[in-house]
C-alpha cells in the first residue's frame, strides 16, 4: 500500500489529526491506537493545548510510545499531567464539555446508524460483537464524534445496519478509502484518499454515494511524516491493518 513514502494508516492518522483543533478536549478508548497517535500528532503540530483524555485517566501523557498492546494501559497515566478517570470523562461529556470522542463500530449505513453490537438477532445473534463500549452515550453527547474503521467494504457500509447501537450526531467517519461526513441525516462522501478512487469507494460501499464534488484527502506532509516517526516509532497506528 506504500505510495510516495506514506501508507493508508499515515493518511488516516494525519487527516484525523487535522480534524482536531487547539484547546479541544478529546477522548479515545480501548483498541484505539490510530486515534491515540492522531491526537498526539495534532498536539505536536497545530494543537499544543489539545487535552488528551483516555480510559486509565492520564491527562496529556507526554509519551504514547509504551502503549504497545493497549490504548487503555497504565503507561498513559505514568507520564500524564493529572489524573481524570473514565467515569469523570463520561460525566464531562454529559455536561456538554467533551469536544471530540473517538469511537468504533462494525457496520454503518447511509442514515448514520452505527452497529457495534450484533449481526442478526440481539438475543440470539449470529455474531456477537465486542459491544459499543461508550458509543451509545458519547456519540449523542460529545460535540463532535469521529469514527474510524480500518475496513471499508460492503459488509461494513451497508444499506441498513443489523442493529442500531447508536445513531445521530456523528461528525466524520474515516476509512482506508475515504472520509464521510454526516450532514442533514445522511453520510456524505467528503473526500477520497489519494491512494483510492471514486470507483473503489463506490465498489466497496453498500449504499449510493452522496457528494457535491469529488475532493481528495490531503496527502501527509513531510513534516507530519517526520513527526509521526518521532512520536510513534513502533508504528502503533498501523496495528489494526
Amino acid at each position: 500500500m506504500r505510495t510516495e513514502g506514506y501508507r493508508v494508516s499515515d493518511i488516516m492518522t494525519c487527516c484525523i489529526s487535522n480534524m482536531l483543533q487547539d484547546n479541544e478536549t478529546v477522548f479515545h478508548g480501548v483498541s484505539s491506537h490510530l486515534p491515540m497517535v492522531a491526537m498526539k500528532l495534532a498536539k505536536s503540530m497545530h494543537a499544543p493545548d489539545l487535552v488528551h483524555l483516555n480510559i486509565p485517566g492520564g491527562v496529556n501523557p507526554s509519551s504514547i510510545k509504551h502503549a504497545s498492546y493497549s490504548s487503555a494501559g497504565a503507561d498513559l497515566l505514568g507520564t500524564a499531567e493529572a489524573y481524570f478517570p473514565l467515569e469523570e470523562v463520561f460525566d464531562l461529556s454529559m455536561r456538554g464539555k467533551l469536544d471530540v470522542a473517538f469511537l468504533g463500530g462494525i457496520q454503518f449505513d447511509l442514515n448514520g446508524n452505527v452497529n457495534a453490537s450484533v449481526i442478526g438477532d440481539y438475543h440470539k445473534p449470529k455474531v456477537r460483537l465486542p459491544g459499543g463500549a461508550g458509543s451509545a452515550v458519547l456519540i449523542p453527547t460529545a460535540k463532535k464524534a469521529i469514527i474510524w474503521r480500518v475496513k471499508h467494504d460492503k459488509r461494513t457500509f451497508v444499506e441498513k445496519v443489523d442493529f442500531t447501537t447508536t445513531r445521530g450526531n456523528l461528525w466524520k467517519i474515516v476509512t482506508p478509502l475515504c472520509i464521510f461526513e454526516y450532514r442533514k441525516g445522511k453520510l456524505h462522501l467528503e473526500s477520497i484518499h489519494p491512494t483510492s478512487s471514486l470507483e473503489e469507494v463506490r465498489d466497496n460501499t453498500g449504499f449510493d454515494l452522496i457528494y457535491d464534488e469529488i475532493k481528495y484527502t490531503a496527502s501527509p506532509t513531510n513534516h507530519e511524516l517526520a513527526m509521526l516517526k518521532k512520536i510513534d516509532p513502533y508504528d502503533f497506528r498501523s496495528i489494526e491493518f
Binding site: V30, S31, H33, I55, P56, G57, G58, S68, Y69, S70, S71, A72, G73, A74, L77, G78, P85, L86, E87, F90, S93, M94, N113, S117, Y122, H123, K124, P125, K126, V127, R128, P130, G131, G132, A133, G134, S135, A136, V137, L138, P140, T141, F163, T164, T165, T166, R167, G168, I239, E240
Partner: protein, 277 residues
C-alpha cells in the same frame, strides 16, 4: 475478625447464581487468580458485571460458569482479537449478553452505592439498546417533562478487586489507574481484595490519605502475588503475552483445565508465604 484467607476459602464465599463484578479494565489489573479459582471451583450461573472485560469474562464463559454478562465491551484489545468463548456462549443462547454503554454500568453501580433502584442517564437516548433491554426505561422527567433514560441499579453480591498493597484489615491502595474499582467497592454487598502484598498496618497508616478502599468495606483479603497475571499490574508486571496468546488459541475445556492447573502453584503461593509468617 480474621479477614486474611486462602484463595480457596475466599472464592468459596461465592454462591452459584451470584452477581459478580471484577475490578480492573480489559487486560489491566483484572483479578485473574480469583477468576481462575472460580473456574476451578466450578461455580455456576454467575451474572458478571464489568464496564470492559477481556480474559476474566472469556475464561468463565469458556468453563460454563456464566448465566449473563452485563458489559459495555467484551474483547481483548487489537493485538489479541476477540473474546471467542464469550461470543460463542452468547451466540448459542447459553449466555445472555446484556450490552451496556460502559457509562450505564457505572451509573448502575452508582445507583447501588446510593441504594436507589435506578439512575437517570444522560446521553443514551436513541437506538436499539433502549428497545431490546429491560434494564433501560425511558420515562418523563417529572420536573421538566422531557424524556430521560433510567438504568436499573446493579448490586453485585461480590466484588473482587486486585490491588498492589493492602494491610490485614483490608485497607487497600491501588497504584496507577483505579478504573471503576473504588465505586465497585462501595456498590457491592461483599468485597474481596486480592493483593500483591500484605503490608504492616503501621506502614499503611503512614499513607492513610492514599487508601482507596478502607478496610471496613472489605470482607476478605487474599495474598496473591501476580494475582492479576496474565493481565498487567502497574508497577509490578506487564501483560504476560505468551499466556494470553496461548489461551486465545484454546478451544476445548480440557485445554483450559490444564491451563488452570498450570497456574495453581502460582495462585496458591501467597497462602504458603502466609503460613510461614
Amino acid at each position: 475478625m480474621k479477614k486474611v484467607k486462602s484463595l480457596k476459602d475466599a472464592v468459596n464465599l461465592i454462591n452459584d447464581g451470584d452477581t459478580i463484578s471484577f475490578g480492573g479494565n480489559v487486560l489491566h489489573r483484572a483479578p485473574m487468580a480469583a477468576v481462575r479459582e472460580i473456574a476451578r471451583q466450578n461455580k455456576k450461573s454467575l451474572k458478571l458485571v464489568k464496564t470492559a472485560g477481556a480474559q476474566d469474562i472469556d475464561l468463565l464463559c469458556a468453563m460454563d460458569c456464566v448465566e449473563s454478562v452485563d458489559a459495555g465491551f467484551v474483547s481483548y484489545e487489537t493485538k489479541y482479537g476477540l473474546a471467542n468463548h464469550y461470543r460463542q456462549g452468547v451466540q448459542s443462547g447459553k449466555i445472555k449478553g446484556n450490552e451496556h454503554a460502559c457509562y450505564t454500568v457505572i451509573c448502575a453501580l452508582r445507583g447501588a452505592s446510593m441504594n436507589v433502584p435506578f439512575m437517570p442517564v444522560k446521553g443514551l437516548n436513541a437506538g436499539d439498546l433502549l428497545v431490546k433491554n429491560d434494564y433501560f426505561v425511558v420515562v418523563e422527567d417529572p420536573f421538566s417533562g422531557e424524556p430521560i433514560t433510567l438504568v436499573k441499579s446493579i448490586v453485585p453480591d461480590v466484588a473482587i478487586i486486585h490491588v498492589q498493597e493492602c494491610d490485614e484489615n483490608g485497607n487497600a491502595i491501588i497504584y496507577g489507574p483505579k478504573f471503576e474499582d473504588i465505586l465497585l467497592s462501595r456498590a457491592a454487598n461483599k468485597v474481596i481484595i486480592t493483593t500483591e502484598q500484605i503490608v504492616p498496618v503501621s506502614r499503611i497508616k503512614l499513607n492513610a490519605e492514599r487508601i482507596d478502599i478502607p478496610g471496613f468495606l472489605v470482607h476478605s483479603i487474599v495474598h496473591v502475588p501476580n494475582g492479576a497475571a496474565p493481565a498487567s499490574c502497574y508497577k509490578k508486571y506487564e501483560v504476560d503475552d505468551k499466556s494470553v496468546a496461548a489461551f486465545i488459541k484454546m478451544s476445548s475445556k480440557d485445554e483450559i483445565r490444564a491451563y488452570l492447573k498450570a497456574y495453581e502453584t502460582k495462585d496458591y503461593l501467597g497462602e504458603r508465604m502466609g503460613r510461614r509468617l
